[in-house]
Amino acid sequence: MKKQKSALLALPMAIWLLVFVLIPIGVIVYYGVTVTGPDGNLVFSLSNFARFADETYLKVFLRSIKIALYATVICLVLGYPVAYICARGTERFRTIVMLLLMLPMWMNFLLRTYAWLSILENSGLVNRILGQFGIERIQFLYSEGSVIFGTVYNFLPFMILPIQNVLLKMDDSLLEAAYDLGATPVQRFLRIVVPFSVPGVISGITMTFVPSVTTFVVSQLMGGGKVPLVGDIIERQFRVVSDWHFGSAVSVIVMIVIISMMVLMNKVDKSDVDERGVIL
């Protein structure tokens, strides 16, 4: 095969990525560091970023990170045992569980969240059942807790799947060797299973944390607009108040947070660049 000629096959995609991935990111940075001057031209300014340093915005930003952290930790705690049990179970058991885990993911994301509203709202299913027992209504929705709940619900499968995939590759003989050498079940779990699953845990954390930080659907539905997140700020700038420059600046900040998190996470993950196939 002629090498240079076949490399040209990658050209359409390379152009596509340039136009629809790299240039848009350049444009968003450009919008973030400019404002419309008095003569209508764009002039360089860092005022968009300065505006974000305001207390109201910082509070929303910190809240987003807090909610996403809580949701990610809960997903990890709930999801890890599922991944472990499935990976160690029979193939039949695993196939059935994975099918059931995938099913809700095929349903529309908004519908899944919306369905919880009818269960948890004040006149919803749970409160009706409680009412039968003479228990007073409980306000479940429109709090930070309900936003965390909705986030966990939506992103839990994304935590389970990558961990399970990694644990499946683990060789049973590793555990047997540890057993022969006198390791207790707890030691075997902590010294062999956990370190082995690190790459899966990292991709699970990324796949739950990033969408949790920036969601505005969950916060609008489960939080009823009372618990705005950083995604809501961006959405407002583009859809309601049309301040694209400020919206871009906030997007750039979100992007920087995500990238620094990735770099940090990959420091923990010791698998090499070739295995992952990407720099970063």
């Binding site: 995609m13 990525l17 179970g89 099913l103 809700p104 994301f109 619900y153 839990l156």
Partner: protein, 266 residues
Amino acid sequence: MKKTSVLGKIYVGLIVAFLQLPILCLIVYSFNESKSRAVWQGFSLKWYQALFQDSEMITSLGTTLLCAFLAAIISTIIATVAAIGMNSMRRFTSTSIMTVAYIPMLNADIVTGVSLLILFTMLKMELGFATLLLSHITFCIPYVLFSVMPKIRQFDYSKFEAALDLGATPGLAMRKIMIPDIMPGIVSGFFMALTLSIDDFIVSFFTTGNGVQNLSIKIYTMAKRGISPTINALSTIMYLVILAILLYTNLRSMNQDKQKNRKGTN
């Protein structure tokens, strides 16, 4: 492989129930006589009837499916062809391209959405089906690429060269030798693209306009006013179709495995 303990089964069962619960509620209430989301007033199929008369809903379903299939087909072709080409590049070049392709996977959907919105506006493109499709192809490409690339890395090039030595043209050798070998990667990439496109809301929200609505956006606009039970009826139909497809493919592959095992023991 060990048998799963009862305790383990109960735990996994609870998590699965938690994930399925709201969907079961949607299904039950799609057969409810009343419009209420909480009170059961008897069995009825009227929301199914209403669904087929709701032309707006049918149109948005059509938009979702058309966009998903086009985005999945186009992104699969672009990414597969590129993956074949990238394999003969220098390591550094191909890793750089992979890193750029990784961005939409990694980046928050909302950032992808607004950055494309600004791009389309600067290019003076009118928001609508075309911009929606371009955006969907963009976020689908990486998933296909990352699904096909490992298969190509595993592909044994000496088979390809053997075909050339036996007189096959490069095109024929690719069709007959290489493509069948990497097919599992292509198929799973295609289905992943399809799923992502059907499920997407955030990118679509920023990149469509002029009344072009896919199902997600339709549901979002409805959610603010109160969702009509017709959407429950639609979800029930979608759920059953997906369940049937998944059961069919899984049972088939299980049967194939069994047959293989039998052959192996004979």
